[in-house]
């Protein structure tokens, strides 16, 4: 569920979260398929980002993400249970890039 800037919206995208006014009032509901008109209205609302459906966008490469993971675990290699936990987190991170 990536959060993207209003200027990058394209017709056909689906809202993953409702678009709300500052007061919390829902202007467009979750699941709304965006049309050119809706996008124009959203741009006129003065908000910067909206959530659209789809896989999250990763900001760093997989190699970098796994390097960072190794660094984070560098103090606890071989400690009880830590390798198990690291393995699960590693699989989770790899899954983000599939």
């Amino acid at each position: 569920m990536p959060k993207i800037p209003v200027s990058k919206l394209e017709p056909g995208m689906k809202l993953a979260k409702p678009v709300t006014a500052k007061s919390g009032m829902v202007m467009l509901g979750e699941g709304t398929e965006l049309t050119a008109t809706w996008i124009e209205r959203i741009q006129d609302m003065g908000i910067t980002n909206v959530f659209v459906a789809g896989p999250p966008i990763q900001t760093i490469s997989k190699e970098e993400a796994l390097d960072n993971l190794n660094t984070r675990f560098s103090h606890v290699e071989g400690k009880p249970y830590m390798n198990v936990i690291k393995k699960i987190v590693k699989e989770h991170i790899e899954g983000l890039y599939e």
């Binding site: 936990i85 987190v89 989770h92």
Partner: protein, 277 residues
Amino acid sequence: MSNMDLKVLRHKVENINTLPTVPGVLKRLSVVIEKPRITLVEISAFIANDPALTTKVLKMVNSAIYGFPGRIASVSHATMLLGLNIIKGLLLGVSVFELMQKAMSGLYEHSLACAIASRVIAQKKGLKEPEEVSVAGLLHDIGKVILTLEFPTEYQAAMNEAQGKSISIFDAEKNQFNATHANVGSWLAEKWHFPRNLIEVIECHHRPALAKNAPLETAIVHMADLLVRARGFGFAGEIFVPEVNAIAYELLNLSSSDIKDVLREMEDNMESAEDIS
């Protein structure tokens, strides 16, 4: 500095609301929640009188941190649904968010992710009030905010020491203050008449084996804290993952698919949760 007197430290922490850097809303809030016999109605009125606070509370209760189905539209509904103890913790949470970000860049994301992870683990373990554990996850590092507010120079020194010597921020705090953020957070929680379990989680989240009243809740927040660091969300003073406490790990006895679910829920909800402040 390393021979800082504990009594002086505690006194300063307990009178944190006299600091000029503490925002007005937190000062007013501390007056309200320090009352031992505050009622739900009073709390509700306090929130409703402050439009900015109302918005924050409603965003928070409708966020992934709690995971209530449907939309909660009014403060009175939120307070009735959550109850006194949770709403007190939540109010503190939303009022210190901005401070968290100023205190330590990334502490806010760390705390949010920890709140989400705590709730998911609590639900997996079948706890009756997962929201209470989630509030504990949100507030477990409140002591760090207080320490950076009250002693910015000394805390920076502790952070530098942690980085320079590759030790945990917890140990660096001990060297610098003779006390840790866990102690400091629990003093404040006690002063504010937080529930006993919440005080204990804050006090013991680094040493869950010491928890007497709420060992399970403490183990949950300990594990949530560790998983958030393992995934690399936010920043809580140092980048390294600490060693898991074996007693807590065994007590929780989470399967690898449980842990994967926790990670997935954090992943799915972090972006939207960051919108709360």
